[in-house]
């Protein structure tokens, strides 16, 4: 990655001719609308970027058991131009986040970093033009061959149990989770305890119960009692996405694979989604 500094060249004056060499150009008046959501999935170094006319999907995976996807629809961007059906590349996420926050990431009102993200195609770096207060920084980040993200084959028709909760009720539970427990057990059932998070730590057990008629429970659709355990180390990173979100949907399919979908409102009130897929811990059986 290399940085060039220049002054007095706002991003909008770049010539049209330069744009034609890029297969992807995405612009945001406020880079935080991208950086905040990427921070929520930054539990690993590398991220796979996948762009279509619908927008941008960023994927981060861990040990073949956990996958996080952040979706930023094309409508969120002030400009989103794509010249191919699918544009994919992989970058070091931590470097990208450092660049997006290059002006210090201050949250002074009315001051934001503008971003123009450009990609020429396979073999080229990802170019970021960042501007704040008239100062422009150009960052070129090396890209890598994108790995194929895992397809968990999770589909709605196989979902056994689903709930949608207001994030507020889960935030406290997640911040209090006993980290000495190796697993987080999720119980979903049409009968008591309905929706339960359990930990089994060194000093004892804890259960967090959310009844189906709680006013925090926006949707409750459980057909069969399921108890599954997931490695705590895999689920703990989801706390970041939970913190940004206002609602979360929890779905478990007939194989015990967990899907968490977080509805995140960005600085401008627009909705983006972050989703996590997690495989159950192998030691247990699905009841």
């Amino acid at each position: 990655m290399c940085l060039h500094f220049s002054t007095t060249m706002p991003l909008s004056t770049q010539s049209q001719a330069q744009d034609e060499q890029y297969v992807l150009v995405a612009s945001l008046d406020n880079a935080r609308n991208l950086s905040n959501i990427l921070k929520a999935i930054s539990f690993k170094d590398h991220a796979i970027f996948s762009a279509t006319t619908n927008g941008l999907k960023v994927t981060v995976e861990d040990s073949k058991c956990l996958q996080a996807n952040a979706f930023i629809q094309a409508e969120i961007f002030q400009e989103f131009t794509i010249r191919e059906d699918l544009v994919g590349f992989q970058v070091t996420l931590t470097v990208l986040l450092d660049c997006l926050n290059i002006f210090g990431g201050s949250t002074a009102p009315g001051v934001s970093t503008a971003l123009r993200m450009c990609y020429r195609g396979y073999g080229y770096p990802l170019t970021l033009f960042l501007e704040e207060g008239g100062v422009v920084t150009v960052c070129k980040i090396k890209t890598q061959e994108p790995e194929e993200p895992i397809d968990f084959e999770f589909c709605s028709s196989n979902v056994t149990n689903k709930v949608i909760l207001q994030s507020e009720s889960l935030k406290e539970a997640f911040s209090e989770l006993d980290m000495t427990s190796e697993v987080l057990q999720i119980t979903m059932s049409p009968s008591q305890p309905y929706f339960r998070l359990s930990t089994f730590g060194n000093s004892g057990n804890a259960h967090y119960d959310y009844p189906k008629d709680s006013d925090m429970m926006e949707l409750f659709r459980c057909t069969k009692t399921q108890i599954n355990r997931y490695k705590m180390s895999l689920l703990k990173p989801t706390t970041k996405a939970l913190a940004l979100s206002c609602k979360v949907s929890v779905r478990i399919d007939n194989r015990g694979i967990l899907s968490l979908q977080y509805m995140v409102r960005n600085d401008d009130g627009q909705i983006c989604f972050v989703e996590y897929y997690c495989c159950p811990d192998e030691e247990t059986d699905d009841e």
Binding site: E176, D209, P211
Partner: protein, 386 residues
């Protein structure tokens, strides 16, 4: 035992746990039957903690009135069958870590002890129908209770239900281990205490004096200087401040324990701290048989009561006033304090912390206690403090 606390009381209970965590690593949850008259069965719940060196003890006693519901369950009301459980404070503290969140969210808390499964269950019933259930294994263990006869203390002070003591100790840095409290009938002063041998030049000395009229009660029978561990006291002072309770202080001469207590209609909290006998010459000597403790230094020298204190010599020792070892620019001679580090057997009690004498709550142990030298005695029918 099964009890239910409502909203605000949960916060008070949490504060008690915070205060106890300043003392020791373990907590005894002790449902009991107690009261001044044997005929009046008053149910209480005691939370006790002791530090590793047995030089600090705290007890929070909640009466039945504190609870929305309190029962000893299927156990006999005589109390013989009640279980005494010992829990690790580190497991309990996270449940009560954020008191503001408890205030906002928790409507009710239920605590129950189950003997067959050796578990204590703490259940929080929160807003929006959410329930949090925590269960811990406990160890069945006789609780220790500090033996302290407050009625025989010559000095009794009561700080008003304001922030008097909290504001006073605020002037000492959080790292300050011990302070010395000196009283005469005319004034009370608090100053920091440092271990002899520390580089005096780099220490900021703080001394605060308070006149008797700052106190609701100021009875000084014996002029004394007592040095005790401040860190262990801070928990009780925060508790008193948050509940706007006056703090009573009972003590005697250096070497005898000091007792800080607060009470209102529904609860009584007590912290008993050992004091240095020689409060002026610096740190306590280390008993060679005692393993190096990990608790604060002020607890470091406590040796078992056996053989370390001559029961016949219950009067405070007189020591020459020892001046600080700072070479005077005037060339005055340096006075050397008495030597420290004497072996346990030959101890002259010159610079030793007297550990508090503990007696197990069950009366069967009294014969053992008779052979030990007693720091303070308790009569058969009274609780440890009146």
């Amino acid at each position: 035992m099964n009890c239910v606390l409502e909203g605000n009381c949960v916060k008070a209970f949490g504060r008690a746990i915070h205060a106890l965590s300043r003392i020791g690593e373990e907590l005894w949850l002790d449902p009991m039957v107690g009261g001044p008259a044997a005929s009046l069965l008053v149910l209480q719940l005691a939370l006790r903690s002791v530090n590793a060196a047995h030089s600090a003890y705290a007890c929070f006693l909640f009466s039945q009135l504190f609870f929305q519901h309190y029962s000893l369950g299927s156990a006999s009301e005589q109390g013989n069958e009640t279980v005494k459980c010992k829990l690790v404070i580190k497991s309990l503290l996270p449940l009560f870590r954020c008191l503001t969140s408890i205030e906002r969210n928790v409507e009710r808390c239920q605590i129950s002890i189950s003997t067959p499964s050796d578990r204590v269950t703490i259940q929080f019933f929160c807003r929006h129908g959410i329930t949090k259930t925590h269960s811990f294994r406990f160890q069945e263990s006789e609780a220790l209770q500090a033996v302290f006869a407050s009625h025989s203390c010559p000095n009794v002070l009561q700080a008003p239900a304001s922030r008097l003591l909290s504001d006073t100790v605020m002037h000492f840095p959080v790292s300050q281990e011990e302070i010395t409290l000196s009283v005469t009938p005319l004034r009370l002063s608090l100053r920091n205490h440092y271990e002899r041998g520390n580089v005096h030049m780099k220490i900021i000395n703080t001394e605060i004096s308070l006149p008797p009229d700052e106190f609701d009660a100021f009875q000084v029978g014996v002029d004394s200087d007592i040095t005790f561990c401040l860190k262990e006291l801070r928990g009780l002072l925060s508790f008193a401040e948050s509940h706007c309770l006056p703090v009573s202080v009972h003590f005697g001469a250096a070497g005898k324990p000091v007792c800080f207590s607060v009470d209102n209609l529904v609860l009584k909290a007590t912290v008993v701290l050992a004091t240095l006998i020689d409060s002026e010459s610096g740190g306590p000597s280390q008993s060679p048989e005692t393993p190096a403790p990990t608790t604060p230094r002020c607890a470091g020298a406590a040796a078992p009561p056996v053989g370390s204190y001559d029961a016949g010599n219950s009067k405070p020792q007189d020591f020459p006033a020892v001046t600080e070892l700072i070479a005077s620019s005037q060339g005055s001679p340096i006075i050397n304090p008495p030597a420290l580090g004497q072996p346990c057997a030959a101890i002259s009690a010159s610079t030793m912390i007297c550990s508090l004498l503990f007696r197990a709550l069950s009366s069967e142990q009294e014969d053992a206690a008779d052979d030990l030298p007693v720091l303070a005695s308790r009569s058969d029918t009274e609780e440890e403090e009146d």
